[in-house]
Assembly symmetry: C2
Homo-oligomer: 297 residues x 2
């Protein structure tokens, strides 16, 4: 491995870089830092309107999500060792993908992809890149230190009731695994209070917070957020993610803690996430899922 080079440094071009197709959140910066620690050359292709401003400034190229031709030209010029999809481009206008996909697929196939959930949507992008001969990698392999480790992460341990709720939450998510739907659920006293849909984890936690004001959940104290990858989930396409905001929202919803799948869930700003959990008295636990956990393919 060569000595670390600033990712925007043209001299790094000698080594086949890891190319980040970067959307929003702090995750792209964290991945860049992790790759730099490993001495990997990095190129950043940032999506306009999704990537954070600071990231866009240091990016090698900033393009519109629909500008498939420019993206492809850049990728071909850079000859990456692998490409990583990182950061949120959640709920983009599907039309943004139409241009990219229409070069390869007919309208019916596009409609099928658009109608097949987020995984199907981003999975389509991965397929197109692979058809072009590129290797698409996953954060779980490139920078495993960004993933939830196994075991208790903060100062608080789950109590036995929380363990019972965690088990139930994992069972609910496992039952939903064949469907492209929520990777998260909230269980209060063994009772399923919410299953995440396309609204996302934060909106689901706000829903629980509202339910908490109602008589039923008010009496049922505590509860846990369980979030994990689906069985067979392609972690290159979408990884369950939590961060400090998740902890804050979970606390506001009156929950006792958060359990995530160890090795399959990203924790954005892990130190701050643990700190926020500790100061609110929430547990944070990385569950080692029995059987074969999802893997990057």
């Amino acid at each position: 491995m060569s000595a670390a080079a600033a990712p925007t440094d043209d001299k790094a071009a000698a080594e086949a870089p890891v190319v980040l197709l970067a959307g929003g959140s702090a995750l792209p910066e964290l991945l860049i830092a992790a790759l730099e620690r490993r001495g990997r050359a990095v190129k950043i292709l940032a999506f306009r309107g999704f990537a954070a401003r600071a990231l866009a400034r240091r990016a090698d190229l900033v393009i519109d999500l629909i500008d498939y031709k420019r993206a492809l030209a850049a990728l071909k010029a850079w000859q990456p060792s692998e490409i990583v999809l990182v950061g949120t481009v959640t709920r983009p206008k599907p039309i943004a993908f139409m241009g990219a996909l229409s070069a390869y697929r007919n309208r019916e196939e596009i409609a099928a992809i658009l109608g097949s959930g987020d995984d199907g949507l981003l999975g389509g992008v991965v397929r197109v890149l692979e058809e072009e001969g590129f290797t698409v990698g996953g954060i779980d392999r490139l920078a495993p230190e960004l993933l939830a480790p196994q075991g208790q992460l903060g100062a608080v341990a789950p109590d036995s009731e929380s363990w019972s709720s965690i088990a139930r939450g994992l069972a609910v998510l496992d039952a939903l695994s064949p469907f492209d739907v929520g990777q998260a659920a909230v269980i209060c006293a063994h009772w399923v209070a919410a299953i995440e849909g396309p609204e996302g984890t934060d909106a689901m936690l706000r829903r629980v917070q509202r339910l908490r004001r109602g008589p039923r959940l008010r009496a049922t104290h505590g509860g846990v957020l369980v979030k994990t990858a689906k069985r067979e989930q392609d972690l290159r396409v979408d990884m369950p993610t939590i961060g400090p905001k998740t902890v804050i929202r979970a606390a506001a919803a009156g929950l006792q803690g958060i359990a995530v799948g160890a090795g399959t869930t990203l924790i954005v700003e892990i130190e701050r996430t643990i700190h926020e959990a500790d100061r609110r008295g929430l547990f944070l636990f990385g569950v080692d899922l029995a059987g074969s956990p999802p893997q990057s393919r």
Copy 2:
């Protein structure tokens, strides 16, 4: 069967009556009318704050939900042929059941019941009544004409995409069957847009309406509401229910129609419900579920 007697007529006492433990919604009145058509004697025990005012006025007894002793005394005096739980007492303060249950169960058992979802909660009431020697019946057997019949109910038929979404919705609900959670889901273009939690069908449809404003669902036109009983669901305790309001909310959420389990779903004001669906161009379909449909036990 004796000649029909007004349900509040004391002369009807000669025949063992059907006793309605009546909560909110138009359903108790509909069931009373259905029982009267059959010449059954009826006694009404209305729950204060839940039963509609008109129903409370004609009720034989109006009690607080917690007033277990008065309810039991009335039931013993009336010697019902059977008791039916009808109308919504959804999301009462669990404390309302504490008095009733504490006579029979210790705190831990009560906590387990309260923590086991709505079915567990109302199932506890059914168990207590049965322990007292009463027969608890279901609307599906007493007045099957209040249930969704099989087949197309209005003027509109589901198209092939809707059928595909209906199948997916049924599969999602079937997967969730072991858990005391949503009896309803919204599928848009084969994509799970929402699963109902304790917020109820109307709130879930409002959520879909909000998602519809977002870019993802805006592009995915149509969608269906699928609502059905869980496998093994005790229909005496809780029956999936729709009505005119459900149709109005489904239309506002941009859905193309509603599919319900035939014979296991109540349709409040069926004529008006069909009328509202027809004038909005929504289909309304009673799906005959393969295998053994849930039955009153």
